[in-house]
Subunit: 415 residues, 2 copies
């Protein structure tokens, strides 16, 4: 008997028939003698519908009230799934994030989980019940409803699996695993049987929509065995996210996949004095405004001034620009410019640690297509470039081919 | 400075524009220096939409999960109204029933309020905030979400007014007050400026849809000043529900109004032994199944047997019949018959206490139209009859005329 946490995304619960299908899948696992905790997203489209309602009232909806509003989406699906499970003769009970007490901080619309009280769930499991928990939501210490941000249901699933020390956390989605890149852009993209935790972390953070980054961080921190599966197929083992130490014996591919992201905007602060503390003067207020910054680059320029460039989520672009315009005089900047028509493309693989020449192959491949690179950023297992958004698909296709990802070989084509 | 609780029904918050209108009305009261607590229903149609979803899954949805589901309706409107208030520059905060801690028993779908923790609300009011509370819902002592049954938002409003010792509880609805009867049936129906608490109690319990009965009971018990107003009109004082002692000096109308109800079904248990305890043997199990019984009549028949008739809500008819069929042998009944095509019509007025002949006028008026009376039940201030549903409109019209209600005189036409 195993304890399994299963998370189903919005397309898996998009209508009554699909909710019934989820119930039947859960029932199969129960029949095999497993204990099952189910985490659900809202019906696909529902969260967007609710946000649109809010925006009809306030251009920038109050964050606390927005969380109050959108958290209803999962509350609807958990109740319906509990009914569907009961209709199959199973014992089941649904809980909101607040009821299970998924305690978070109070950063509305992007809260972080601090603690989960797993006792109530364990009592239900011991009583033979399937426990159905609303994903994406929690409660702060004052009892206010919070949400974890887009894709937060994955995080709920993994956090519950960690708290309950579950044997496996299964993420059911509309794809059957993690691919070398998005098959809509590269039809030859190949499903990976396994991917290391670190690679998955880069894939998730760089825009692969399969798993939310925080869920992967959680899984890594608490060593949760994570598997991505399709909720629309009966068979298939999906992609298992492994921990590197388990994989030492395996031959590693140099590059595992190509991730990309159109959600960012680039902001450059031109001509600030090149003195210690300037980065903090610029990014401190941005962080205080709860705006996440991704890539950061600083170039030394002429006349003891420097240009400072960073990227933020496109939704935060206007807010960030307004904030910086207010700071402009204080930080002594000459000009602040921005660009929202950018895209980020990254190649990822633990294998690149022990291989040289990956970066040069990447740059050569892009240059051959006349694609100008605007920013570069690297880590041990990934290289990211920012390019004009219009070249995104082209860049992903030529890189996928250059690293021979369709054949699962280990980058045979570079020098 | 007064503390006012305002409750808005589903039609008053049916869309974004109407929610804005509510916000503007609330703002007016705030400008006058009042403290305002707002209680909201779900958008009209939303609760029915959610129930329909549930019934697609389970013919008789699990009550706990149904409450989990339908309570999302008010959660949406409170969040949107709080945003609309903030958009007008007011401070506001929304709360679910669970957050304010509207503690109820655990009778899902028809829970009763046990206690309200008013401290959190008072703190917000003292900080200058408008407090927006989800109507219709509460929480049991185990943290499960409960709902108060149809129209329960009125009860939430009155209960909050009682807990906060509010100066007035205003119920905004799609009618501008309490009428002598339903104007859709009798166009000459007249709006009452005042109605006594006792009369309102009878009006509400007998099917007038203006206020839910439990809200009126609450108002009476805690002496909450209650006013029914239209949310679609700028002016007008609506109908004030008075306490009789305040009205002793006033000339009372004999009959204040005519209420009716199509929601009931009649069940007759034929030929049960006429022994002590038989009523309990029949109604005990019905009460245990949480089915409300309205009228009860017992006729002594031949051969030491008796016929026992009572009415239940039509929604509970099948469940009650099934229950009684199972009991049939145990209680020694000959047969159990039922009728769902009935309607109840009642005339109401505190004035009838001191006047004779009201009942005979009622019966004569119905007889003149050949309307057969199936059951009769009386109280100090009302007379109810059950008739065939098809005669309902006719009965209401002829009674409205017989008691001269369109002219506000005191029943001039009876002997």
């Amino acid at each position: 008997m195993a304890l399994i946490v299963q998370k189903y995304g919005g397309t898996s619960v998009a209508n009554i028939q699909r909710i019934r299908n989820v119930a039947e899948r859960v029932a199969k696992f129960k029949m095999l003698g497993h204990q099952v905790v189910v985490v659900l997203s809202a019906m696909s489209g529902e969260t967007n519908r609710l946000i649109a309602l809010a925006r009809e009232i306030q251009a920038e909806p109050d964050p606390r009230e927005l969380d109050m509003l959108v958290s209803t989406g999962e509350q609807v699906t958990i109740a319906l799934l509990a009914m569907a499970l009961k209709d199959l003769g199973l014992k089941a009970r649904s809980y909101t994030g607040s009821q299970v007490r998924i305690l978070t901080d109070n950063a509305f619309t992007k809260a972080r989980i601090l603690q989960i009280d797993e006792n109530r769930i364990r009592e239900d499991l011991d009583a033979g019940r399937v426990v159905v928990v609303a994903g994406f939501q929690g409660v702060d210490e004052n009892g206010n409803i919070t949400t974890l941000g887009r894709g937060g249901s994955d995080t709920t699933g993994v956090a519950l699996a960690a708290a309950l020390k579950a044997d496996e956390c299964q993420i059911y989605t509309d794809v059957d695993g993690v691919y070398t890149t998005d098959p809509r852009i590269v039809p030859q993209a190949r499903r990976l049987d396994t991917i290391t935790f670190e690679e998955m972390l880069e894939m998730a953070s760089l825009g692969s929509k399969v798993l939310q980054i925080r869920s992967v961080e959680f899984a890594g921190k608490y060593k949760v065995k994570l598997r991505v599966l399709s909720s629309f197929e009966e068979e298939g083992d999906g992609t298992l996210i492994t921990f590197e130490e388990e994989d030492k014996s395996m031959e590693q591919a140099i590059i595992s996949g190509i991730a990309f992201n159109r959600d960012e905007a680039k902001i450059t602060v031109l001509g600030v004095p090149d003195t210690p503390g300037v980065a903090y003067q610029i990014l401190g207020p941005v962080a205080d405004a709860n705006i996440d910054v991704d890539m950061i680059i600083q170039n030394t320029g002429a006349n003891q001034t420097t240009d400072f460039t960073f990227t933020v989520n496109r939704n935060e672009y206007n807010r960030t620009m307004t904030l910086l315009e207010e700071l402009k005089v204080k930080i002594g900047a000459r000009e602040i410019i921005g660009d929202t028509s950018i895209a980020k493309v990254s190649i990822i693989g633990v294998g690149m640690r022990s291989h040289v020449g990956i970066a040069s192959t990447m740059f050569k491949t892009l240059a051959a297509e006349n694609i100008n690179i605007r920013m570069i950023s690297t880590s041990e297992i990934k290289i990211s470039v920012v390019i004009d958004e219009k070249y995104l698909e082209l860049a992903v296709r030529v890189l996928h081919k250059a690293f021979d990802l369709e054949n699962g070989k280990t980058g045979a084509k570079f020098d």
